[in-house]
Subunit: 435 residues, 2 copies
């Protein structure tokens, strides 16, 4: 079979030589023969650009053109595809991608922030120039979530996407469970080990997972990417006590990205959730990521793998390059941009769900009655309650789980509970997702 009309080399320019950029150079060099065999033509790195030229990176850059300014890659006549591995939703990364597409070059990027914020416009630009904009590496590292959603599930109505999309958070939550230690302590260790950034807020506040979720949702539901309406909660509120009680109740706490169509629009949320031990997601530990996609015909497809790291991310970038080299084309978000539907965000107060609630309450008679009354007033039904241990400073943890209720009723009940004199700190609540 003639797998490509082109037999000359696919010439790649790489912007950004961090872990992923260097991983990509290594991969393309190490597997040059394999790639030529599988693509019917060589894939070669012809130019690179990074902030510092003279730096030991452990990869062989001789015979590769150097550009001090990454934007020059867009104009380099010896480049067919630009790989943008700089990062950041704006600035140089955006400028480079725009310039490259405008110049008629294909672009492969691992930049979820850029796509989450500017993806719709960039896809339209790529389409108008007749070139590919590909981003397998932007979501869940080595896991082929983009290709599976865009191609393997193309004949399905997708009814839900569920993912563990941030390795830093999953590492922290896993270590908290295994060690019994608290959040701040484990975060510090993760920072020392290089699993969390010096400024960890992008990861632990859920923003990174939300970027990835917005990309998956656009692909799954054929909607214009809409990062602004993702409801985002991070993991700072998860305590060792929560993890311990969740375990006792038969759950794991995971930072989940969830996107699903509802009668009121597309629900997109990132939040720590309780997941039953029977779920595949409960057993995804450490820096591993996972994506579940539910199709109306395919059923529930689970994908797991390394969510970050030079090798896995480089492999995902290379998969896009292979598609381009083989002449396999797909619109960036699966369908022509003119056919993407404006996303109507679901109003969260209409959502229903079961909840886990942790309160710190005074250890005296009548307290439970007051709390139960607040729940009853909002028609929220208690499923289980755990209170044990000695009072410290006259306060003990009270753990409740409640049956399915609306988010609005839950928030009203919690506001009333929080206002009780016998409740010491603001209530903590996580949704229970019966996946």
């Amino acid at each position: 079979m003639n797998i490509s009309t082109k037999t000359h080399s696919l010439r790649v320019g790489i912007a950004g030589l961090g872990t992923v950029g260097c991983g990509l150079v290594s991969l393309l060099q190490a597997h040059a023969d394999l790639l030529q065999l599988r693509c019917g033509r060589p894939i070669s790195v012809t130019a690179v650009s990074a902030r510092t030229k003279n730096k030991s990176r452990g990869v062989d850059l001789k015979n590769i053109k150097w550009h001090d300014d990454p934007i020059q890659l867009a104009q380099d006549p010896d480049i067919d595809v630009v790989c943008e591995l700089i990062g950041g939703s704006d600035g140089t990364a955006k400028e480079l991608v725009e310039a490259s597409l405008t110049a008629g070059k294909a672009v492969v990027t691992a930049n979820k922030a850029l796509l989450a914020v500017h993806g719709a416009k960039l896809a339209a630009l790529a389409e108008s120039k007749g070139v590919v904009l590909a981003f397998e590496a932007a979501v869940a590292g080595g896991i082929p979530a983009i290709k599976v959603l865009r191609e393997s599930l193309a004949s399905n109505k997708v009814t839900g996407i569920y993912g563990i999309l941030n390795g830093t958070c999953n590492y922290i939550l896993t270590t908290m469970r295994e060690s019994g230690r608290d959040f701040a302590d484990v975060l510090k260790e993760a920072q020392n080990l290089g699993y969390a950034e010096a400024d960890p807020s992008f990861d632990i506040d859920g923003v990174d997972a939300a970027h990835k979720l917005a990309i998956l949702a656009s692909l799954a539901f054929g909607t214009v990417i809409d990062f602004a309406t993702v409801a985002v909660e991070g993991i700072r509120s998860v305590s060792a006590v929560d993890i311990q009680y969740a375990h006792e109740l038969g759950y794991r706490i995971k930072l989940l990205g969830i996107a699903r169509p509802t009668a009121q629009g597309i629900e997109q949320r990132v939040a720590p959730c309780l997941v039953p031990l029977s779920s595949s997601l409960a057993h995804v530990d450490g820096v591993t990521n996972a994506v579940i996609a539910e199709g109306d015909f395919a059923g529930r497809i689970v994908l797991e793998g390394p969510g970050a790291g030079g090798g896995p991310t480089a492999s995902a970038v290379a998969a896009d390059l292979v598609d381009i080299a083989c002449g396999r084309k797909t619109p960036a978000f699966g369908i022509p941009t003119s056919r993407l539907v404006g996303s109507s965000a679901a109003q969260m107060e209409h959502k229903t769900g079961a909840y886990y609630i942790r309160l710190l309450v005074a250890d005296r008679p009548g307290v439970f009655a007051d709390i139960a009354a607040c729940l009853r007033d909002q028609k929220v039904s208690i499923e289980s309650a755990i209170q044990r241990g000695r009072a410290v400073n006259d306060a003990v943890p009270l753990i409740l789980t409640v049956h399915e209720t609306s988010e609005m009723a839950m928030e009203r009940a919690l506001a009333a509970i929080g206002a009780l004199g016998s409740v010491a700190t603001p209530p903590v609540r996580f949704r229970i997702e019966a996946l």
Copy 2:
């Protein structure tokens, strides 16, 4: 982007209207608009063929041409792609696929037996005619194992494939564990529930899993498909006692397909194995399938999902049709057939591994010493031993696990043990796979 040069309908002929064939007709009708949107052109069923014409199938076949003889589909000028959903490694299925490819029509098939036995020749025929031969549905139902191996991991050297590839066996093993019941009893139930065939040997003797493994191995390692050298053991030898002891030792018993390159050639085996509870595969229960692919850059990618059934299998067939409609082409086994390497099968006696052994031994002094001597003589080192319970007919089960040893040493030791007068029945042994 111009995703396809063709805007006319992709015209599909379907041979076989069982669960999958009818599922495919339903899918293509239910999602006609979605498919047109995602492919840029309609996908329409123009003709079908099955054994019995007048039979209620719950799908709408009006306005679809009927052929009494499926081979006529190959000659029908109103068909671009033939979907072969008849099954069987030879006979009508093979004839139809050959005739269709010869006539220059693309073929999509769910037929693992046909591919396992004749895949290399059929791929060469497709290539010589410049048409697609696609078979996502042939392995693991709705799980996109073929596309992920062939495209997403194209830039990786694959270092191993591990799979739970037969839903019937996984259902039986799961139910045995959950209920404590024995093999024959659970098989009978599975037959009553329709999860196992009246003649179940194809599934429970591991042949079906071996077909699928051979396909995955060819794709992963770029070798000519080689079903004949797959070492196959089924699950008839797994007893309730084994499952119970495995659990006690921290394992699940799963029928695994394993393929990996070794210094002596490609190892391909299907056998019941002990998998540690920490492995993703340990938690894949019931009729669910799973495939793990290890890439040297991507790391370990785990795919799970429904391994059979009309909906999932139809979804996989439709994914191939979408690729064809969009003009996305890939050689059947990932590379041109002339470049596929003749497979050199690894000699199993050179393989090393840890083992679980179950013996039925006389309950008297000296027996253990005799057994231990047989192991020592082959330099096989005991890791753990469990013997408990009362002797029934003077015999009790003795469970051993042994450290990594060669398969040859293990088989010699077991032959010696089996010859001991104090050992009542032939030894049962399963490999321990530390996945």
